[in-house]
Structure formats: C-alpha cells, structure tokens
Amino acid sequence: MSTEIKELKFTTFKTNIKYSVINKRVHNIDGLAKVTGRATYTFDVKLPNMLYGKILRSPHPHARIVNIDASKALAMPGVIAVATGKDTPGVKQGIWRRYPELCDEQILPLEKVRYIGEPVAAVAAVTEEIAEKALELIDVEYEVLPPVFQPLDAIRKDAPIIHEGVERNINVTRHIEWGDVDDAFAEAEKDGYIREDWFRTSSQHHMCMETRAAVSSFTPDGKLTVYCSTQSPYYMQALLAGVLDMREGDIRVIAHYVGGGFGGKFELDAAIFCSAVLSKKTFRPVKIVFTREEDFIASKRRTPMHYYIRTAMKKDGTFLAREVRVFTNGGAYTGMGATALYLTGFFCSFPYKWRGYRYDGYRVYTNTLPSTAMRGFGAPQAMFCSEQQIEWMCADLGLDPYEVRRKNAHTECYEVPGQAYIQSCGMTQCIDKIEAWAKSKGNLGPNRAIGVSAAGFMSGGIFNWFDTPYSFSSAVVVINYDGKVDLYVGCQEIGQGSNTTMAIICAETLGVKIEDINVYSGDTAHSPADLGAWGSRQTLMAGNAVKMAAEDAKRQLLEFAYAEMGLNIVYDLDIKDRWVHVIARPERGMKYEDLVKRAIRGKDGQRIIGRGYYTPHRKGMISPAYSYMMQAVDAEIDPETGKITLHEVMTAHDCGQPINPLGLIGQLEGAASMALGFGYLEDQPMDEGKILNPNLVDYKVIRATEMPKTDMIEIDTYEAEGPYGAKEAGEGLTNPTAAALGNAIFHALGLQMKELPITSEKIVNALKEKKEKQGK
C-alpha cells in the first residue's frame, strides 16, 4: 500500500452537533404508497398492446443445443414471436466488464446449456396462458453432455469441461497475502498453538418478495424503455446496451419500486433480457414475470464454499497467522461470484490483526445454478468458519474468548497491510458490551447457551471491475420557488429505505424538513448514474453525493442571504428547520421560504441547482469505511430431537452515526431472520443438478413464530469518510449470526458443527458420534 494512505490518518471523534433530521425515528417516505397498494411495481405495469412472455428452460444440466424448431409454436393462434439465441447479437455478457474472460454468460445461449433451468427460448403471446402452452410446442434437440456438480470433482483432470478453454473448470483464482506467514507459523509450532479445520457452507436463495420481472417496450424510433425489478438501473442500462448493440442513451430503465434484492438483482437477468429481445422483434411491449419456481431454479444463489482454515496463535491468545483455502461452487457462470471469492478471503481475516495472512480462493464452474452475491457477499461464510474456529481454539487452550477477541481486534486508524485503511472502529466496545450483556444473563440451564461472533463489513466497494466512466454516486438538488426540493439520485430504493436516507441527509444539510424533499430515483432518464444498491455502498457513497449537492445549493442560497442581510463578513450563516440565521445570533434571520423566493428572482428566474458526486480515492483496495459488530445468539437445543429454539439475538453495533434508527432496526431484524435461516434452515439440495425444493413449502424461511427477540446496542463512533459520520448498517448484520448460533450449540452441547445449515438431524448424528467416541 502506498504511503499516501498513511498520511490520511484521522482520529475518530464524536461531534456535538444537534441534528434536526438525522437520528430521528422516521418512517419510510414511500411507506404509505406501499401499504395502501398505490406503489407500482413492475408486476403492476400494463402498457397498451402489451404481450406476455414465457421462457423455455433447459431440462439438462449440460447439453449441446443441436436445433431449435419453433414452427409449431409460431403456428399457434395468439403466439406473436419466438426468440432464441439466433435472434440476439450473441454477446457473452457479465458484470466484470474489465475482464472479458469473465463475461461468460449468453442469456439464450447459441451453443450449450450449462445448468437445469437455463433459458433456451422465449415466447411472446397475447396472453400468458397461450405463451405457456406454446412452450410445449417448441422442439429443442439436445446432445446431452456429461455433467459435473461439485467443485472438488470439477477441478479433476478428467472432469467434463464446462466452458471451452477453461482448464479444470477453474473460473477465477484469488490470492491475498501480507506479513510473513511461514515465519509466524514456525513460531507457533515452537511455542504456540495451531489448529486446522475444514468447513462447508450451503447455498441460500435470496427469497425476494417480488420475483424477477420486466416490461420492455421497443418503439419504432429505435428507443427501448424497460421497467424492471433491479438493484441498479444504471447497470441494466449499460449491460442492455452491450447485449443489444444499442447506445446507452437510447435505453431508459425504470424501477420505481423493487420488492427486495439482497444481492440477486444487479446482474442482467432473463426476464429483462428476453422481454427486450422479444419487444425488439415485435415492436410491442412485452412483459415477463418469473413464477416463484423460476425464481428458485433460475436466479442466481448464495455461493456455497468449501473452507480450509489453519490458524496459529500464541498460548496467551495473541493471533499470529492464518492460512485459508477456499473452493467455491461457482455454478455455470461467473455472475458476481468473482467478487464473493475475493471478499470471503478478505473478511476471513476480519476483524482481527494478523502478523501474517494468506488466502487462496478458487471459484470452480459446475453444471449447477450459478452462484453470486448475496447479503454479506462471502463474509457470512467466512465468519461461520473463522469465528467458530476461534471459539474452539480458546476452549482448547482454556482462554477467555472475549479477552482473546479484544486482544486481537482491529482498532481505529489501523492498516490491514496492503488491503485496507480503517479509520473509525468500535470493535473493542462492541466486545465489551456483549460480554457484559451475556454475563448479566447468568446461568441459562442445561442445553442452552449464548454463542457470540464478531464481524465487520465494508461500506461500499472501491473496485471498478464494471469499468464505469462515471462517478460511483451522483446527485442533483433542485430548489423550487415554493421551497420544495427535488432530489435526483441514481442510488436505488429496493425496500431498504434508501430514498428515506437520502431525503434525511438532504433535509439535514439544507436545513429544511424531510417533507420538503421529493426524491426522484429509479429512472435513468432523470437519475444521474450511480452504481446502485449493492455492497452496502449507498448510505456512504450516495449519501456523500447528496450531502455535497445540498451543500452546493445551500451555498448559493446563503450568498443571497449575506447580500440581503448586509452582514459583516466575519459572521457565518446557517439554515436549520427552515430558519436562515446568523449562527452567533440565531434570532437574527429570515424564513427559508422567503430567501428561496428572492434568490430565484435574483437568478433571473433560474431554480437553484446543486450538484454532488462521490468516488472513493486512496482508501486501499476494498472499501472507504468498515462497520463493526459483536453478536450474541441465545439458543436452546433439544438433545433428543436436535430441535433448536432461539431465545434472543443481541447485537452491539458500530455503524458510525445512525441516520434513521427505525431503518436500522428494520435492517437488524431482516438480517437476523435471513442469517438465522442460513444457520439452521435454508438450503437448496439438488439431485443431478436439479433443485429439489423450488417452492415455499419445501424451502424453509423463518416465519414470525420462529423469530426470536432481537435488539441492538449502538456504539458511538464517527466515520470521517461517511456523510455525517455514517457507515454501513444492514448487510454486515448478516455476517456473524450463523457463527454465533454454531458457538451457542458448541457451548450448549459441546458439538463442533462444521457444515451449514445446522439441521436437527446433523445435531442428533453429531451427538451420537460424540457418545460413541466417549464410549470407546
């Protein structure tokens, strides 16, 4: 890492500023529209003359497409068009645009199918029923090829090749290293402790309330409008331009309301692509909505991983070094899996200081549903393995696991060599708080225990594999004659409350009320380019852009106020709660509404326009800032049936300055339900590449009755890089939970569970094994 970064040292401090909008419990500004059914999701979009599309999917995990004959389908009354790969420019696309070899997915492939459920053709018809029936009339001739499903099989020399030219099916490799690893291990061999473990983490489905959906409308002037369910309208615009051979500016992407994303909706999907291709073919709008089953079998999933960790520590619990090797089941295509491979390797070091750290990750192609980003982005897998192993090592050595974590935890202004520069960090305080909370609970009785896990996460990625030429986030603030503020942002609202967060930051900065702000997002026609809602980036990155735009507009307003009030230039002006005033003499001032009117007149009738943007610079390789947390799970296990009862989840959390505490609680609860599901319920078992539970009866998602009490202890920190000191708060909360549950099981029953999900059956089997061992 360059020395430049070292010069950037800030200390973390708390400001004494009293906020008028920030840190108040605010309901989401789009809540009313949603609960009254007035929000138009893509599913609700209906355009004149619209057709309905359906997708024909491969029944084979691996096969060559010899021929597709759609003549019978086309002859069916009501069928307007059928599209196959031959109707597309045949571009292999992907989100890692800087690396052409990783752009490996042709939606509607020309040559081969690589997983069960892969689209091979799409039909547009006057009704959904006709489109569905027509699918049965398309004859596809396949030459079935031998498949391979497991990464450890797929890297064998004799394994079938899934992508021509990719040897041993190794899609991406990643190496991270710092310090002298071998030296540190040598020291531990002499006078320390080394432990190695293998783990396996499972798959998980994003389970968005809204399935993949798109309405595409191509018009004779050569322009395409696409309504869709996406985490990034800008990405969709750019990716569609690439695969359709169009100019970005001729494509408009609209996503006003999105029913969840969780990392699964920022790649181009078949609903978007096929509806666009069919619309181009027919010059009519085409709507495609995935069924729940299609979402399960053909939208990408959380990356399953095989994990090997070898850790060395001194006998007093000081960490020395760690070596990590990971093989991930990549499925048929790259998707966002390459990033997950990198991040899992980085976060397996988190949140601790190591003298030496070495990671080697291999992403392996298999003939299964591709894996990709999902909330936590590789970190929940890493924490499940790392935090359990640390707990076991402490037990092996008879050390206090809180003390050991505290001893090795990141601290503020710490550099992860060559990787990251950490400014604010409340890790130690998080450990203190959870330790005190857990100890206050006293003895919980038999078969019940509290397990803990530390974690941290990034506040947006620094990497630009998408190769965008634009700032990572941008915002425009327009102040109108009546004082109403139009805020144009490209960051995407997907239910996480981003529009509300941006309105709060804008209102706080301008000194107005939240109801003064209209947020315009989710439409590339007016929203400035922004990478979108992924990697926990929006509060920090788009928040900074909004803050800058609002400051720009405010400065223009205050110029008029200075002139108007004839002040001595040593005085400073500010606006708070719509009152423009001299900071030193708050009673001296004028109404915001009056100032706006005069300022606009003074500008010859121009509205006041402020602009802002943000791109991270000189912050290392990963992220501009990191959240930290320690989580405790109180669980009870029936030793006879293995049934897990969850009593409580408590989290001590450092997310810098919370912007909206209500939104934060929503994130906490949502993350807990998702991550607990990851811990003991959710999985996607397959038989020869076919997912066996593509429905909500067989795919187990935590419901209200299973949801334990959750609460949070906020740790006070200030992040200099974030808007008003804010950083990530939501995705990272998914990281510690499965590990904390595993540690609760360890303390309750003495079991070391190395495979996710930790089902009752696995617990019962492990107990049996333990008894047999003890009996010997």
């Binding site: 959904e128 029923e129 569905e132 006879e640 049936t641 049934k643 003991y680 319920l681 078992p685 066996l692 539970n693 009866v697 067989d698 187990k700 935590i702 419901r703 009755t705 299973e706 089902t759 009752s760 059956e761 019962v764 089997n765």
Partner: protein
C-alpha cells in the same frame, strides 16, 4: 397455472350429492387449501369442481355428554380451535389445531377436506384415531360409517366410493382415566410435521395400562397405529422405561421414507422420542383424572 374448469355450486347437500353422481371427472372443493395447491402444480386438472364450502348443513360442532362430539365436514379448523366445548372436553384437539398451518389457512380449510385429502403428514388424523373417531360418508344412494383408521388406504387415497362425500367426524366420549397427547416434529412451528405422534393412555385404577393407542403421522403411506407398541403397553405398569421401550417399538413398527427434510433413520429416531414423550404426557394427564 390452473387449468380451466366448470364450477358447480349446489344449494343443498341433496343437490350436491346429485350433482356429484351426475358429473364425470368431478372434484370436490371445500376450503381449497390443499386442492388448489395440487391443481396449481398441475398434478390434477379436473373438468368440474363441485363447491361444498357454503353448505351450512355440514357446518356444525355438536357435543353431547353421552354421544360425544360431532363435527360436520365443512367445519373449519379455526372453528374447532376456538370452540369452548372442544376446549373443555378435547383440549388436545385445540392444541393440535393451534399448530396446524397459519390462521389464514385455518380460517378457510376444513376438517372434512383435511381428512379427505389424506396427506399422511396431516395433523388431525393421528389424533382423531387416538380418540377412536369414526367418519361418516354418504352419496345419493345412502350413508355409511367407518372407524377413521380404516378410512386411509394409501398416499392421498381413501376408502370412498364414487359419488361419496365426507359428511361427519364422530368422536366418542373418552373413557374415564384417559389422557391424550399429540405432537409433531418440524422446523417451522406451523409446518406440516416431518413426523407426528398421537398417544392415548387409559389407566386401570393405579398405574396399569388398560388401553392405549399410538398413532404415527407421516411414518408411512397413511396415518397408522403402531399396534405392536399398543400391545406392548396394555396390561403393563407404566413408567419411563416402558415409555422408552414403546418408543423403540414404534420407531421400528413403521415405514417412513426419506426426503430432503429428513432421512428415514432420523424419522424413526424422532418417532421413538415423540412416542415416549407423548405416552408420558398422556399418562400424566390420565393420572390426574
């Protein structure tokens, strides 16, 4: 997608039975909570649907201290759950209904539909069999009554002739000194059971077992009694060792199949644990009487 069908709406039970006799390829729909799922999955596509949900003649809960409990076929799960008289005389039924699906499903799904659907994982059947319930079916030609444990033939298959409807479930008065218990094992509280066990224990004065039933849910193609466990129990002085042994017998006296949620071994194991626990619970309840 659900295929098109003709919708038949009879005004009375008599009309319903006549229509049912008359129409080929006709399925009864009551609450639709099970039927619509299999139709949506394309597993069946009947030409005609005969709706009996609104037939109030079949919607009743009657109790008589001598005759016992009578539930009309279109009585909803929620009505059973909320019934004061059932709570008083058959509390195990209320406890079972409480964990059957969600309130929304219980509000609409019916006891007749549940039994006619004959899902081996269904909750009411094992408990009702433990309670020695009978079922009344009838067609345009007449009615007949059979013990509920003879009603289930195979997976989703029941002992009904063409044109017959389920009309009523009859639960006789429980013998004195009898305890009843039911529990299912699952991952989500209101899911169908991975397995379930109902037990009834009748005591002979002291702690000796006069009569017992052990009924297993989702442990084979139909809800089934473990007659071996029952025989083992009858005449024995009951204690924890006996319950554990009965559990072991039951876990071997069944035919559970593996699926993605649990292996066959694990199902047998949990049947053993639940049998032991439910017998103990029923025993303690019987002692208290």
């Amino acid at each position: 997608m659900i295929h098109d069908f003709h919708y038949l709406k009879p005004g009375t039970l008599k009309e319903a039975l006549a229509m049912y006799a008359e129409h080929e390829d006709c399925k009864v729909i009551c609450g639709g909570q099970s039927l619509l799922i299999v139709m949506r999955q394309g597993m069946i596509a009947p030409e005609n649907l005969l709706d009996i949900k609104h037939l109030n003649e079949l919607n009743y809960i009657k109790f008589d201290e001598k005759d016992g409990l009578r539930l009309g076929a279109t009585t909803t799960h929620r009505a059973i759950e909320k019934s004061e008289v059932i709570k008083k005389y058959y509390p195990a039924l209320v406890a079972m209904e409480n964990k059957l699906a969600s309130i929304q499903v219980r509000n609409w799904g019916t006891i007749g539909g549940n039994l006619a659907h004959a899902d081996p994982a269904g909750d009411p059947a094992p408990l009702l069999i433990a309670l020695k319930a009978n079922i009344k079916v009838g067609s345009a030609k007449g009615e007949r009554v059979m013990p509920l444990d003879e009603f289930f033939v195979d997976y989703f298959e029941i002992a009904m002739e063409k044109g017959e409807l389920v009309l009523e479930v009859h639960v006789p008065v429980t013998q004195p000194k009898t305890g009843i218990a039911y529990q299912k094992f699952n991952y989500l509280t209101n899911d169908m059971g991975i397995v379930g066990v109902a037990a009834s224990v009748t005591l002979n004065g002291g702690n000796t077992c006069k009569d017992a039933r052990v009924v297993l849910g989702n442990a084979g193609p139909t809800p089934r009694r473990s007659k071996k466990a029952e025989e083992f129990l009858i005449g024995k002085a009951l204690n924890d060792d006996v319950f554990a042994e009965a559990g072991k017998i039951a876990s071997e006296d069944c035919e559970p199949v593996a699926d993605i949620h649990a292996s066959e071994d694990f199902r047998r194991h949990v049947i053993g644990v639940l049998t032991k626990r439910m017998l103990k619970k029923a025993f303690e309840e019987a002692q208290g009487k």
